[in-house]
Structures are given as C-alpha cells and as structure tokens.
Amino acid sequence: MSIWEYANPVKFMKTSSLVLPWVTGLAAVCLVVGLYWGFFLTPEAENFKQSVKVIYVHVPSAMMAINIWVMMLVTSLIWLIRRHHVSALAAKAAAPIGLVMTFIALVTGAIWGQPMWGTWWEWDPRLTSFLILFLFYLGYIALWEAIDNPDTAADLTGVLCLVGSVFAILSRYAVNFWNQGLHQGATLSLDKEENISDVYWFPLLLCIAGFVLFFVALLLLRTRTEIRARRLKALEQRERMA
C-alpha cells in the first residue's frame, strides 16, 4: 500500500472522516490548555510586562504562516507532477488558512509593537517579509477565484506557487539586506543562550502544537468541502449530459 492511495478522493474522504474528530479534539485541548496556561498562569516578564502574553498567539501563527506556504508548495508540486486532484484541492484549501495566519501574525505583531517599539508598524525585515508573504497569499487566492475550470486553476496556481516561492525567499534575503531591523532573532532554537525561560517555553510549545493540529483539522475539513464541491460539479455536469 502506498501513500498515494490517499490521493484517491474516496479513500481520502473515508480516512479523513475517521481522523478528523481526533485531530479536532486534540487541537482544542492543546489550544485551550496552552492559551490558558500562557495567559493566566505565567508571570509577567520584567521588560515585556503584560504584553508578553501576545507571544502565545503571535509565534505559533507566524510559524504556521510560513509552514502553510511550504505545505502548499509541496502539494502543488505533487499535483503538477503526479496530478492527484486531492493534492491540488488541499493546496487550495490551505491558502485562506495561511492568509489568516499571516494576518494574525501581523496584527498580533502590531499590537505587540505598540508597547515594545512605540509604533504599530516598523519596516523591519521580519515584518516586511510577512507583508510580502501576505501579498503572495492574496495573489494566489485571487488567481484560484478568477479561473472557472478547476484543472486550469490548479495548474496555474501551482506554477504561481513555484515561482512565488523562489521570489519569496529572494525577497526575504533582499529585505534583510535592506534593513537591519528591530525584531528579535529566533529565540526558540534550543542551543541559544538567549532562550526564553522554561516558564514561557512550555505553554508556548503547547500553543504551537495546538496551532499545528488546528491547522490540520481545518485543512482536512476544508479539503473535504472542496472535494464535495467538486463532486457536486461533476454530478451537475452529468445531469447536463443526460
């Protein structure tokens, strides 16, 4: 049995209906526990004050924003090479979630930036590259919306995702070069000294896990919806032929 079997819509529907409740439940548990822990059971950091709590939404959503694009890149490639429809539909289903994640990261960042840097917005490389990522998501979704034929749309958005990814990476690099920035570096890496203390670290991990699971649940749900929409379309077409 190969993994490609799940590219068959019927098989996918069956499996996903089994998996979905578990993932959803787990995501809910992680999120509720993680957020409650983070928001109410952690002390205030001295130089961050209350505002440190934003981290429990900000970091997971920021990570998801990037990872969802990577996932879309992979599924687009699978579609372009092996032409599994579920793969293309999964990419389509993921994009709006990614857009919302990017948006959440931007908004929580802005909310955080106000007390920390004294400004809602700064043209910092991190922030800027997220804005560009936001634009890529927008363009990608707009292209899906603008094309009627699902296969055509899948092909074109796939190509866009490929080219876009290369340029997103390029932009990230270019932006770094262009401005030094205020945003902290990756403090989650385990070997760094400036790692945040464990008090914040564990609830954060839980939140991140919660966001990942939440994304998987949403993705399964939305892909199932897309497949149903597709099925409806196929049935309508048959109706017309008859």
Binding site: T119, W123, T128, L131, L135, N179
Partner: protein, 218 residues
C-alpha cells in the same frame, strides 16, 4: 439603469474579486514605496499623505481601461447605444460602478494603510474625508478618458496619459486638505475646492464622455 449598475457590479465580482483587487493593488503600492525610498519612519511619515493619494489614484487608473473596453469588444456598447437609455446615464452608471468597486474600498481601507506609512495621528480623519470627496471625481474623469480611448488598441497607456493631468487638481487639493487638517490649519478652502471639483465633474463630464463614445462608435 439600476439593471446596468447591478450587471456591472455582478460582472466585477464574477471577474474575480471586484472589490478586493483595487485594494490589493493599493496595498502593493504602499508596500513598495519603503523599498524604494528606504525604511526610515520619519521620511515615510513626511510623504505618507502623498503616497496614499497617489496610490489611490494609480489603483483607480489601472482599472479604468475596463470601464468601456470589455463592452466595446463584445459589442454590448453598440447595443447599449441603440437601446432606450441615454448614453449619458450609461456613462454615469458605469463611473458609479467603478467607484463602488475601486474608490469606496480605498476610502475605507486608507487608514489601515496609513499605519504602514506612519501617518501622523490627526491626519487619518482628513485622509478619509479627502478620499471620500475626491475619489468620485477620479472615477468620473477616468470614465471620460476611457470613453475617449475606447476602441483604440493598447489604449491603456494613452488613457493614463490623458487622464493623469485631469487628476492633478483633485490630487493637489486632496493632499493639501490632509496636510492642513493634520497640522490644524484652516481646511475650508481645500475642502470647498475639492467638493466643488467633484460636484462639477459629476454634473458636466458625463456629457463629454457620452459624446466621446458616440464618436468612437461610428
């Protein structure tokens, strides 16, 4: 007439986005400016009003050529011209549809973009007011340019060329209004001028546009 408005709005929505795309373009212009001029907050704040007005103007401009071009290409414009509706009305309605899909969303979203450019606090209110007053004129003037160039292949650039000078007064008074408003100076003069320009434009220009279309069809 209502039917035409509804049709145009529906077409805009079906064409993928309608409201969203103008906004997205605006967002992009605003994003690109710091890449060009550098990320320093004080420089950006200094030019924010101008950039936002220019962005609105360009977002408007980019969507202009479609006001009549599609209807011309598929022959609807011929048919509308022979239908029992005054061509002046058609022109006005089409400009209105353009404003609803492009201008209005910009007005609503401008404050958000203001944040990106470090727009100073008191300027937000005046930015919205000036855009609300000014953008209808942009759509109506744009419809005039589109009417002049309908049927010309590659009208896009020519259209911009014709329309941009017409936009200058609106731009000047719009930017001036925000500047004065933000610095607490007297705003009456640019406010009146802006409102006057828009009102006069809406009242008069559609006749010129209709005439231009008639000429272009024959």
């Amino acid at each position: 007439m209502i039917a035409l408005l509804l049709r145009d709005l529906r077409l805009a929505v079906r064409a993928g986005g309608g409201f969203g795309l103008g906004l997205a373009f605006f967002l992009i212009v605003v994003t690109l400016v710091p890449f060009g001029v550098g990320p320093e907050g004080n420089v950006l704040a200094r030019i924010a009003t101008g950039v936002l007005w220019l962005g609105a103007l360009l977002a408007c401009l980019l969507s202009l050529d479609r006001i009549f071009a599609l209807d011309f290409e598929d022959g609807s414009l011929d048919l509308l011209a022979t239908a029992p509706v005054p061509l002046e009305g058609v022109v006005t309605i089409k400009a209105l549809a353009h404003w609803i899909t492009t201008g209005l969303p910009l007005v609503l979203a401008a404050p958000v973009f203001g944040v990106l450019l470090h727009l100073p606090g008191p300027a937000y209110f005046w930015l919205v007011v000036s855009l609300l007053l000014g953008t209808p004129a942009l759509s109506v003037l744009g419809a005039f340019g589109a009417a002049l160039t309908v049927g010309l292949k590659r009208g896009g650039l020519l259209l911009s060329l014709l329309v941009l000078p017409l936009y200058v007064p609106t731009l000047i008074f719009g930017a001036e209004l925000v500047k004065r408003g933000a610095s607490g100076m007297d705003t009456q003069m640019p406010l009146l001028m802006l409102a006057g320009i828009t009102a006069a434009t809406i009242a008069v220009v559609p006749f010129a546009s209709a005439a231009a279309i008639r000429v272009n069809l024959r």
